[in-house]
């Protein structure tokens, strides 16, 4: 990597990911790869019924099987004296919070709900024993559809939640919005189902728990995006162990997309089983268990309307949503369809009146929680589909109607009607760039000519904004979060000038080891190769809140930049002392301190570090060593935005949708590593295209999961997708030290609307107004033929 290592220029360059050689050669160690002596293996018996009373459990045959150490049920956990709870970490006013115990006590509430635990000498025996446990179920009716679940007479998931309503939430001004509709020249209206998704991280969840009864310490290796949150929740709610006696370690983690944020029962069960048996206990989900237990995403039923004046200027937006919570309230589930959804309803538009009402609804399904984008893809889909429908009913071109309604570049900061205050933006800039690259005007001609020949081309825009890097902590707390949203960093310069960086974020594919080193290389002016980054161990780094919500660059990166700045400040003081100069006379360039005009007499950062460690000649009042810790709490969210454009051809004979081009023009602020940003955008688009064309978790009327394996759940394959085109505009974040925003979710947030808008555009000769996702060939064929 010669030529890539010079400190200052490293920020902004496409350095190859240093993580990859280990990952792609199989040297990296994931949780299930770890081996501890004398490990026992744990499996969990799961309910086959969406809803059933448990009359009794007979585990005697399983217990008698050679190699089985123990079989446990909920009563064993309760009798052991641990709290046994799986808590919700985001509270809304008047929310119904049902008990969620580590295993089902007397009722199962979704297919996959844990019923019993087997601990055995090996994996095979642990799985054999599951087949020898006999549960006497009394099956009851279940309900999976979030709207139907609220109807009178629907089966109740929890008796304490009438009509299955967990919470009834609203944002905006209903009266003002109703008035806007009363005076509207045009109204666009859509009924939208935002399809339920299954996360499909490549690595299934896993835990290896090692409880030491002598010291009382629990070491828990697990697939987590946020080791400190898991430590906190396991300590407080599940096992009651003192927080300082728990060490949660995230080895390599193979993707998460949100599914490894949440605190599930399974990892706590492995830890509890280790406490019971006095042995290390490993649990690894099968792919089937992944489908049956990892929190699903989306699952909204929405009615949305846009009011316009005669010129197509938006005057009001009204949204009514039923959002599935699943059987229990997962860790951050209540935030997803509320503060991560309703607050984004202004989109990129100067909307004078908005009202959004949301029912959070219990259903007999796997709990629903944050999945890549978390609320913002749902909001963006509502807004951007509705904008296209508004264009359709008003007869205004979709690009033009957006232009007429954008928040103007000189109108920032912009206070929306739904709480968020956008700090910066240049929406027309991104739109113009995208339209030019795609050749929008030419396309319309080409489209018209193609239609003459029975070829149906379509183009779809998604001019999106998103809010990520939730902050500041006080605001997030006032909205119900039982967590802070600041981030920690330690920058430790060793005596030789080499550097170790610790972050409270916890990467699982994002490339933090590379990008964080780039930040520090630029800040300290030391070679990139001399910097290592360590994350994912609650026993090593200060408390942090982990990696999700596109927060790791904006919040975690800013913490690192702040810590690096503190290091430079201290080094400057020492360098000034060594150079016998005043601090204010020193320049700091490429890692060297020198008096202005005398670069030959420099003290390099490694020189200073050595002196800081020797401590033979330090200025008065300066402590030895050279490191700094920062706890960075941002002033505001960050607001990435951009324009995505999809071009499709629809085959009228079969309904097949061919995605021909996909262009993303994103504004994620300053870019640390363009290649990694492109990679994030590519992956996000692929997942968003997956939602729009292929993926859907299907439950039948009785709440049985029909799409329970990859034979039925269509994760997009590489050959389904075109080579994406990416470009950027740069509007730096005005309030963080790096000027960076988030990029991890932009693709999943923007792309579903772009793709569906393109399909609906292609079908405009057939008068099609909307098709629900996933837009399968059959749905398109039906839209054409019916």
């Amino acid at each position: 990597m010669a030529g890539e290592s010079n400190g200052a220029g490293v920020f902004g360059s496409s350095i190859r990911r240093r993580e990859d050689p280990e990952l792609i050669t199989g040297r990296a160690k994931y949780t299930d790869d770890l081996q501890l002596p004398n490990t026992a293996y744990c499996t969990i018996l799961r309910s086959d019924y969406a809803h059933a009373k448990i009359n009794g459990i007979d585990a005697s045959e399983a217990e008698a099987l050679d190699g089985v150490i123990a079989v446990y049920t909920a009563s064993d956990i309760a009798d052991s004296g641990v709290p046994g709870g799986i808590p919700v970490g985001w509270l809304l006013p008047d929310m119904v919070i049902p008990e969620h115990f580590m295993l089902a006590k007397d009722t199962t509430r979704y297919v996959g709900d844990g019923v019993a635990i087997v601990v055995a000498e090996d994996q095979y025996t642990a799985h054999d024993a599951l087949e020898l446990i006999y549960v006497d179920y009394d099956p009851r009716d279940g309900v999976a559809d979030p709207k139907k679940a609220t109807e009178d007479g629907a089966p109740l998931v929890h008796d304490e939640a009438p009509n299955n309503i967990a919470f009834d939430w609203e944002i905006g001004d209903k009266e003002m919005t109703d008035a806007a509709f009363a005076n509207a020249a045009h109204v666009a209206s859509l009924d939208i189902v935002n399809n339920r998704l299954i996360p499909n991280a490549m690595e299934p969840r896993a835990a290896l728990a090692d409880y030491n009864s002598i010291t009382g310490e629990l070491t828990l290796y697990m697939t987590t995006q946020n080791p400190h949150i898991h430590r906190l929740l396991i300590s407080l709610a599940s096992l009651g162990l003192p927080e300082h006696k728990i060490r949660v370690i995230a080895p390599e983690v193979g993707g998460g997309f949100g599914s490894k944020i949440h605190h599930y029962a399974d990892e706590a069960i492995a830890a509890w089983a280790s406490m019971q048996t006095g042995r290390p206990v490993k649990w690894t989900a099968t792919r089937t268990e992944t489908y049956l237990t990892d929190a699903h995403g989306r699952d909204h039923v929405t009615h949305a309307e846009m009011a316009m004046d005669a010129d197509g200027k938006f005057t009001g937006l009204r949204v009514d949503t039923y959002a599935a919570m699943g059987a229990y309230l997962s860790t951050f589930a209540p935030a997803v369809p509320t503060y991560l959804y309703g607050t984004l309803m202004s989109g990129e538009y100067d909307l004078p009146a908005i009202y959004c009402h949301v029912y959070g609804v219990f259903t007999h399904t796997v709990p629903v929680d944050a999945y890549r984008g978390a609320g913002r893809p749902e909001a963006t889909f509502v807004v951007e589909r509705l904008v296209d429908e508004a264009a359709r009913v008003s007869g205004i071109d979709p690009a033009e109607i957006r232009r007429r309604n954008f928040v103007a570049p000189d109108n920032f900061p912009f206070q929306t009607q739904v709480a968020l205050a956008y700090d910066s933006g240049n929406y027309e800039g991104a739109l113009d760039k995208a339209l030019e690259t795609i050749g929008y005007d030419d396309f319309r001609n080409e489209q018209a000519a193609a239609r003459e020949q029975g070829k149906y081309l379509g183009i779809g825009l998604s001019t999106y904004i998103e809010a990520c890097g939730l902050a500041p902590s006080a605001v997030v707390g006032s909205l119900g979060a039982q967590a802070g949203q600041w981030e920690s960093a330690v920058v430790r310069v060793h005596a030789t000038g080499k550097v170790t960086v610790y972050s409270g974020c916890s990467g699982h594919g994002q490339g933090h080891e590379t990008t964080y080193a780039q930040i520090v290389a630029s800040a300290l002016g030391v070679p990139y190769e001399d910097i290592d980054v360590i994350e994912g161990d609650s026993g090593v780094m200060p408390h942090g809140w982990g990696t999700y919500g596109s927060r790791s660059a904006a919040t975690g990166g800013s913490a690192i930049a702040s810590a690096a700045e503190k290091v430079v400040d201290k080094a400057r003081t020492i360098a000034a002392h060594l150079l016998e100069a005043a601090e204010e006379d020193l320049e700091f360039e490429d890692g060297n301190f020198f008096v202005k005009g005398s670069p030959d007499q420099a003290q390099s950062l490694p020189d200073v570090a050595l002196q800081a460690y020797l401590a033979h000649n330090l200025p008065k009042g300066i402590e030895p060593a050279l490191e700094a810790t920062s706890f960075y709490d941002p002033e505001n969210f960050v607001f990435p935005f951009g324009t995505h454009i999809a071009v499709v051809e629809v085959c009228a004979n079969t309904g097949h949708v061919e995605l021909q081009r996909y262009l993303a023009v994103d504004d994620v602020g300053n870019v640390i590593n363009p290649m990694i940003v492109d990679g994030q955008v590519h992956g996000g688009i692929a997942q968003g295209v997956g939602q729009s064309l292929y993926e859907t978790a299907v439950y039948d009327e009785g709440a049985n999961l029909l799409s329970g394996t990859m034979l039925d759940y269509a994760v997009p394959k590489a050959h389904f997708l075109p080579s994406f085109e990416t470009d950027r505009t740069v509007t730096p974040c005005p309030h963080n030290p790096l000027g960076v925003k988030g990029v991890g979710e932009a693709g999943t947030i923007a792309s579903p609307a772009a793709v569906v808008n393109a399909v609906v555009d292609a079908l405009s000769p057939f008068g099609v107004a909307h098709i629900d996702m996933p837009v399968t060939s059959e749905k398109v064929w039906n839209a054409i033929n019916n």
Partner: protein
């Protein structure tokens, strides 16, 4: 993904394999393993023993003689797709094999395993049916031959007895004037055929159609022959219009559906895919 316990046998001859099968009614034959092992890991199947026939030399190889092509049961999809003999003699079979799963699957999966498993959504059954393949089978009582049309009985059920092994597949070599093709509509989740069409057509000296066969995977509980379409083509000039007209009569009485494609939609797809396969076959004839 941990299967139940099973015994493992690795015979070195077909005879030995048949003997083991005869003595183990709950045994299953293991070839490439790409259908059997997943269902064992899901514990949907729990055979008491596996009889691994992968090392039996007699089940390997592709040979051509007397106007037919003989393909050993353990020949992989990859070998079939890339065999110049198969490409020339039975292009529909090479095309079908080349579209199964992904590269890894094609390097392991075998024609014998595929046809014996008789998954209606797999790609080879329709090709074997359309090409008029003959399946050679050996059991304790000796060997016998079964035509493809008699082999596929129902969903994952074949004419094979539990103690019989499919040893090879014989396909007639396409004569001058005969062309074949396979067109596949991939299931977005599984990659199996949501609708796969295998077509064979023969043109007489004057150019008109003297014989035709059109068979489908993925639309029914077994591979099915659309005999009414074939009958409608014979005597026609095989023009696009003639093909469209013949395919318009297609009807699959027991069409199956799932959440991606209902039975009714699959029928419509079958018309499109059938016409595609027929046109390509015609162009090769």
């Amino acid at each position: 993904m941990y299967p139940s316990k099973f015994d493992y046998h690795r015979p070195s001859s077909v005879q030995e394999a048949v003997q083991i099968l005869s003595g183990n009614p709950d045994a299953k034959v293991l070839a490439g393993g790409h259908s059997l092992i997943p269902v064992m890991k899901l514990r949907l199947a729990a055979p008491a023993a596996l009889v691994d026939i992968g090392r039996i030399g007699a089940l390997q190889g592709i040979s051509r003689s007397n106007g037919s092509l003989r393909i050993g049961a353990c020949v992989t999809y990859h070998e079939i797709a890339n065999s110049a003999d198969v490409q020339a003699a039975a292009p529909a079979l090479a095309e079908a094999a080349g579209q199964i799963g992904d590269r890894q699957v094609r390097y392991r999966g075998t024609i014998g395993g595929n046809l014996s498993h008789a998954d209606p959504a797999s790609d080879l059954p329709a090709a074997a049916l359309a090409l008029g393949a003959t399946l050679h089978v050996t059991g304790p009582g000796g060997s016998r031959s079964v035509s493809a049309s008699d082999f596929f009985v129902d969903l994952m059920m074949t004419a094979l007895q539990p103690d019989e092994i499919l040893t090879g597949v014989e396909v007639p070599v396409a004569q001058a004037g005969t062309g074949s093709a396979y067109a596949k509509w991939e299931h977005p989740a599984s990659g199996y055929a949501l609708c796969g069409a295998a077509a064979v057509v023969t043109r007489g000296a004057g150019g008109s159609c003297t014989g035709a066969s059109l068979c489908f995977n993925g639309v029914s509980s077994t591979a099915v022959a659309a005999t009414e379409v074939a009958a409608g083509l014979v005597g026609s000039d095989l023009s696009d219009a003639a093909i469209d007209s013949a395919v318009g009569n297609l009807s699959i009485p027991d069409a199956t559906g799932d959440m991606f494609a209902s039975a009714g939609y699959r029928q419509e797809l079958a018309k499109v895919m059938g016409a595609r396969a027929l046109r390509t076959a015609r162009d090769r004839a």
